[in-house]
């Protein structure tokens, strides 16, 4: 989105406050709730995403599995992942999960990004990439706990799900939500979505899924895309959904307080040099050194052979 927004709460590689005049007036955050227990794997959401965002991925190859494309790409911002899991009773469970950006409250991509304003977080919780500011370094990929952003081979910019920030900004729900035929996808305020999820979880528990629950991982401050899972105690069953995602400590160390400290140390080194020169002064060679050098040379060479 290139239009100016005045409700930004975080902006990548920016140390001063963001344009946030509209924030703080009883903000409500939004969320998409993905109910994996209602999903039939029809991929209408994938199609709706392509259509609204006007994306056409390259045609891949069929390897005999339902999952198509095989992975998220710069042109496929959402993807149904199909996992065939054998449960403890020995029955097959087909766990289908719509993958895509989770819109973390504490976004690792934004933390890692070195380009000012290439990644922003709106007051409503959406984390959005502004590709015109993207430099294509791929640090967002390293920063993301969910392996979501992809760099396009075409233009070397990073892309991912925008949670249809353009639609949401004008009061519409994301395109994928519109397309879902089973009600597995719902969209609303995060509070409402949690309440809705609580009803769903209760229902699932009454049907024998004792470990049903909401996936809203606290390690990243919660997410604005949440899952209802039949097996919330084992998120990884759903094609490797991260059990306890958080921004990697390596990324925190790389992008945390160490950077300003390192910068200060470099400045200090230069300033220390300057003041050493001012206080102690240069180390110079004078006539005396030349004379003594000549004396020593004479001694070493011996008295003979003086021209």
């Amino acid at each position: 989105m290139a239009l100016q927004s005045l409700d930004i709460i975080r902006r990548s590689a920016t140390t001063l406050p963001e344009p946030a005049i509209r924030t703080g007036t009883g903000d409500v955050t939004v969320a998409k709730l993905i109910d994996t227990t209602k999903c039939i794997g029809c991929k209408a959401c994938q199609v709706a995403c392509m259509e609204w965002n006007d994306l056409r991925d390259e045609i891949g190859t069929n390897v005999g599995a339902y999952q198509n494309p095989h992975d998220l790409t710069a042109s496929s911002w959402t993807l149904m992942r199909f996992a065939e899991v054998e449960n403890t009773k020995g029955d097959l469970e087909w766990l289908i999960r719509k993958d895509g950006c989770m819109h973390c409250a504490d976004p690792g991509c934004l933390k890692a990004c070195p380009a000012p304003g290439a990644i922003v977080q709106y007051a409503n919780g959406i984390v959005d990439f502004h590709e015109e500011n993207c430099i294509g370094c791929g640090y967002c990929i390293a920063g993301c706990p969910f392996d979501i952003p992809r760099i396009s081979r075409k233009d070397h910019k990073a892309y991912k799900c925008t949670l249809c920030s353009d639609r949401v900004a004008v009061g519409l729900e994301p395109a994928c939500i519109k397309a879902c035929p089973t009600g597995a996808l719902v969209f609303g305020t995060k509070e409402d979505m949690k309440l809705h999820a609580a009803d769903r979880v209760e229902d699932l528990k009454s049907r024998g899924f004792q470990n049903a629950g909401l996936y809203d991982p606290p390690g990243v401050g919660g997410t604005h895309v949440m899952y209802v899972l039949h097996h919330a105690d084992h998120p990884h069953l759903y094609s490797g959904l991260i059990d306890n995602p958080h921004i990697s400590n390596t990324v925190r160390l790389w992008k945390g307080a160490t950077k300003p400290l390192a910068l200060a140390a470099m400045a200090f080194a230069a300033i220390a040099g300057f003041f050493h020169y001012i206080r102690v002064g240069p180390n110079e060679t004078d006539e005396n050194d030349e004379t003594r050098a000549a004396e020593e040379a004479r001694k070493l060479t011996g008295p003979e052979k003086r021209p």
């Binding site: 070195p114 993207c134 990929i141 760099i151 102690v280 180390n283 060479t301």
Partner: protein, 236 residues
């Protein structure tokens, strides 16, 4: 030491003391034209790699990317400049490798850093072609550049990052930033030492130093040079 020689017999071209000749007595060749070219190619590449890297290091320095044609161009150019720097430095490192073995006297020299920074050179152990500080900077650069090269390849999203797991890329990013930090501090020290010890910049720009300079700062090297000149002039 084959690349170092004395342009003339010491004390010969000087005009003896008292003659008050204004001419410089830069009779000791410290760096050959090839040494100097190699050094400055590395130095220029370091400055460019440093500025473009710092642009991506901290938001406060992102403005440096304007020097390279904007953010994407900075991202594109930085790894190539880095490769060039490493390539240039490899030649420099080979050239100076054997001069930089740390000796016990070098560690003693380093321990007496108080005398070093207060210009009390007469109290320090005798120094060969390079002193302990110079040798330390040399090895720090060798290690940092090796680290920057390896981690830089891992971080190079356009060509290589997809060969590595995200954990490895994260670690590479951290080590890359840390190595660059250590390298920059070392080079600040290196540059300041050249400004501080008068005659050093002349050595690396024009190639020569005066006998007095060599005698004062690198006495063991000075003696070697005299001996070498001696043995060259004896046969005739």
């Amino acid at each position: 030491m084959s690349d170092t020689h004395i342009t003339d017999a010491p004390g010969h071209s000087t005009g003896e003391a008292g003659q008050g000749s204004p001419q410089r007595r830069d009779t000791f060749v410290r760096y050959t034209p090839n040494d100097r070219t190699n050094h400055w190619l590395t130095a220029i590449a370091f400055v460019l790699a440093g500025l473009s890297g710092l642009a991506m290091f901290h938001p406060a320095l992102f403005g440096l990317s304007s020097l390279f044609g904007g953010g994407p161009w900075t991202r594109i150019l930085h790894p190539f400049i880095g490769l060039f720097m490493v390539g240039a430095f490899i030649f420099l490192a080979v050239r100076f490798w054997s001069h930089n073995y740390m000796q016990p006297a070098d560690w003693k020299w380093l321990r007496q850093y108080r005398d070093v920074i207060n210009n009390r050179e007469e109290r320090l152990p005798e120094v060969g072609r390079y002193n302990g500080g110079q040798k330390l900077v040399y090895w720090v650069i060798v290690v940092c550049l090796a680290g920057l090269l390896l981690t830089g390849i891992v971080m190079w999203r356009a060509y290589f990052s997809f060969y590595f797991s995200v954990r490895v890329v994260r670690l590479a990013a951290l080590v890359h930033a840390f190595s660059a930090f250590v390298l920059i501090i070392s080079i600040i020290l290196h540059i300041y030492a050249a400004i501080w010890v008068k005659g050093s910049v002349h050595a690396m720009t024009r190639g020569t130093v005066t006998p007095g300079w060599a005698w004062k700062h690198h006495r063991a090297w000075y003696r070697e040079m005299i001996h070498a000149a001696n043995s060259r002039s004896r046969p005739d």
